[in-house]
């Protein structure tokens, strides 16, 4: 090798090494410059992560047999990416008429000029079903084939139109059990909340926990994505079939009797489970925004828990139970009914304004004698009578797990709005106000060996893949089991004796009618009444309690004429749904099995 060649090679080596060293030095300098730090931080902030909000799926609501009452459906938001729009006219023509959109609105939205800072995307419509999106997608594809990238202005193009899926609340049963379920305002995607009923009471559970997270755009940084558990699902005590049956019979009764409204509660007195709760009016929950049309003038969403009223004679069940329990009266007690009872400066009359002579306590209940019950209450005395009412939960919330429960406070001795005459009038359900739910719960204690169970509609919660069943709760024990059994037999016999329209062939039923005059401007005696009936059975082993309230019936004012037949009709179907055989069948089946 020549010397000059070696020198040349060395020079090249040195030059390359120097260049490499300079490059490395420059790299180190750039890496450590303050400008680099700033740029790096800015890039991290702007481009490395995107803030993403995860809204968990709202929990489902099922009836007691797992039939879906409230779920979620796939729908789409349709919008335009303004940067890519080439033909606003085609977009407007294609979407014209969908979801009540008109050409002008769409054209105006799609024609907005693109501004990367202010105007990138415009929403055209929302809540479109997947079928419409399939059609739209097909049209878009066809246009794209004819006019790739929408470059030819004279040809149609849907470039820029995009759609994003999301879930919306859905109620497959429409208005069935709407008073119980309430609704979720799904049209407000950011701030939707539950209103009334289950949707309101369990809103937090159903909604779950929305999560805001930083999602790395750099796939190297991507590790596990946040697990967003869906909201809890709920299983109700409601039986869809019983609910549908009860709603139909209630609607028929309200129509037949030209009543203003009606309410029916079906519950299991042994554990407080509500099997059905029907009320008028109802609304199709899939169009919840129309509910203000149905519920005019502060009409309660669910009368069963939100409307207080004077219950009338059904209240006598509580008065007589209390009197039997504290020993004021017994089966042998005789009351000589003169037809009027003077107390506290006022006079109490019977419903027919005549005296009924000597009556046992069963007779008093059978003929629904106000005078007798007023006498019973005065014999008991203020303290005992109101203590019992409080033990029955009168004047307090039933604490049922539904949003919107109302109460009317119970006036008792010592209260400024209590007068001595109220002891007499309260005894037969006048001057005291309850909701149907409160009264049904109170009477259920008589049906359930004296134990007042907490009324509830939640049977189980499904959360994190586990089902947690609820347990029945005893709220109080207002009367002794012996008293309850005595009352059961007495009210069963009184129904039989009067050949009530409430009886159910083959089944032993206990119950009581109620006809409460509605005061107008504080005066009783008008034709307006609340007709009601509360009954339960089979008397030997009560498995159901049905409370019927028909508000302001036009055909007849009497509970025995209007509400009792509704009770009978409902119960005849109810025993089939609940697989309760007639009394004689039970005896035969028991005999065969032993």
């Amino acid at each position: 090798m020549k010397k000059s060649n070696g020198l040349r090679l060395n020079l090249i080596g040195i030059s390359l090494s120097l260049a490499s060293i300079l490059i490395i030095l420059q790299m180190v300098r750039i890496q450590n410059s303050t400008k680099h730090q700033e740029l790096s931080e800015w890039a991290d902030e702007e481009y490395s992560y995107a803030v993403e909000n995860y809204y968990p799926e709202r929990g489902n609501i099922y009836d007691r047999w797992g039939r879906l009452l409230a779920g979620n459906e796939d729908v789409y938001e349709v919008g335009v990416m303004l940067e890519y729009v080439t033909n606003p006219s085609t977009i407007a023509q294609t979407l014209d008429g969908i979801n009540q959109l008109n050409y002008k609105e769409i054209f105006s939205a799609a024609s907005k000029s693109y501004d990367p800072e202010k105007s990138v995307y415009a929403v055209l419509t929302d809540f479109l079903p997947s079928g419409v999106i399939d059609t739209l997608s097909q049209i878009k594809q066809d246009f794209e084939i004819e006019n790739p990238y929408g470059k030819k202005e004279n040809l149609p193009s849907l470039r820029g139109v995009v759609w994003n899926p999301h879930l919306k609340r859905s109620y497959p049963e429409n208005s069935l059990a709407s008073n119980i379920l309430g609704f979720y305002s799904y049209m407000d995607r950011e701030n939707g909340i539950g209103y009334y009923g289950i949707e309101e009471y369990y809103d937090d559970l159903l909604t779950g926990m929305p999560i805001e997270t930083f999602m790395p755009r750099n796939p190297y940084l991507l590790e596990e994505l946040p697990d967003v558990p869906a909201g809890a699902s709920l299983v109700l005590t409601i039986d869809r079939e019983i609910q549908a049956m009860v709603e139909k019979k209630l609607d028929d009764a309200v129509e037949e009797h030209e009543a203003e409204s009606g309410t029916v509660i079906v519950m299991d007195p042994r554990n407080g489970e509500i099997l059905a709760m029907a009320s008028q009016p109802r609304v199709n929950l899939n169009q919840y925004w129309k509910y203000e049309d149905e519920f005019e003038d502060k009409t309660p969403f669910n009368r069963a828990i939100s409307e207080t009223y004077e219950p009338g004679s059904v209240f006598k069940v509580l008065t007589m139970s209390a009197a039997f329990d504290n020993g004021t009266v017994d089966e042998e007690t005789i009351f000589n009914d003169p037809g009027r009872f003077e107390y506290g400066g006022s006079v109490i009359y019977n419903w027919n304004r005549r005296g009924w002579g000597k009556q046992t306590m069963q007779g008093c209940m059978q003929h629904s004698l106000n005078v007798c019950l007023a006498w019973v209450a005065t014999e008991m005395g203020n303290n005992d009578f109101y203590e019992y009412l409080q033990a029955f939960g009168i004047g307090r919330r039933s604490n049922i797990d539904l949003g919107g429960e109302e109460i009317w406070p119970l006036s008792a001795p010592g209260d400024s709005n209590w007068y001595p005459i109220q002891l007499a009038t309260n005894s037969f359900g006048q001057g005291v106000a309850v909701t149907p739910m409160q009264l049904a719960a109170a009477v259920s204690a008589v049906a359930n060996e004296g134990k007042l169970m907490k009324p509830h509609v939640l049977k189980a919660i499904i959360q994190d893949g586990k089902q947690y069943d609820t347990s029945p709760q005893v709220l109080s024990v207002p009367i002794k089991p012996k008293t309850a059994r005595t009352m059961n037999l007495m009210l069963m016999e009184s129904l039989k004796e009067e050949s009530s329209l409430a009886t159910v062939p083959g089944y032993s039923i206990a119950g009581k009618t109620g006809t409460a005059e509605i005061p107008v401007e504080g005066v009783y005696g008008t034709e307006l009444t609340n007709a009601s009936f509360v009954g339960w059975g089979p008397v030997n082993d009560p498995q159901f309690l049905v409370y019927v309230w028909i508000e302001k019936p036009g055909s007849s004012p009497w509970g025995s004429v209007v509400a009792a037949p509704v009770f009978s009709s409902i119960t005849q179907d109810l025993v089939k749904f609940l697989d309760i055989p007639p009394d004689d069948n039970i005896q035969n089946l028991t005999a065969k099995s032993t």
């Binding site: 099922y62 779920g71 429409n174 994505l225 089902q467 005849q572």
Partner: protein, 157 residues
């Protein structure tokens, strides 16, 4: 003589040149191999990251589809729809006289609905993200070649 002997055993200049070039290129080749390895692993990690992202979107879509189909099923088995179907098929409500009750030994009636297992049943899956996906190349080299332990997966997370 000595000079002649030395010259006789001396490597040819072109061989010495190749040796020196080879020696200087060796670290370059080694660096290139390491960089290639790093690139391959990085590409795999990026692909895995993208796959996670795609699976995440796929999971979201599947959950939406399940919710949607559950609702669709509920629509077609709703009370009003079932009523129509029963009427169409000729079913009617049995009159009381046609209802007979019999005792079935051991039958407790319809069981309460069980949509999910009760608490106490361990069926919740642990993370499905393999630990290897969380490992960097450096930690893999450390754990594989320098730390003599079978359980030393130093995850970056």
């Amino acid at each position: 003589m000595a000079r002649k002997r030395k010259q006789a055993y001396k490597q040819a200049p072109w061989r010495r040149q190749i040796q020196s070039i080879g020696l200087s290129l060796l670290p370059v080749v080694a660096i290139a191999v390491i960089i290639s390895l790093y690139l391959i692993i990085s590409a795999q990690a990026a692909a895995a990251g993208l796959q996670i992202m795609n699976l995440h979107y796929e999971e979201e879509e599947i959950l939406r589809t399940i919710a949607n189909q559950r609702s669709q099923l509920a629509w077609i088995t709703s009370y009003s729809q079932m009523q129509k179907r029963t009427e169409k098929m000729g079913y009617e409500v049995a009159p009381e006289s046609d209802v007979h009750y019999i005792t079935i030994a051991g039958y407790q009636g319809q069981n309460a609905v069980l949509i999910a297992p009760p608490p106490g049943v361990k069926n919740r899956p642990t993370s499905i993200n393999n630990d290897l996906y969380k490992q960097s190349l450096s930690s893999w080299i450390l754990s594989t070649f320098f730390i003599n332990s079978s359980n030393s997966l130093e995850g970056d997370s």
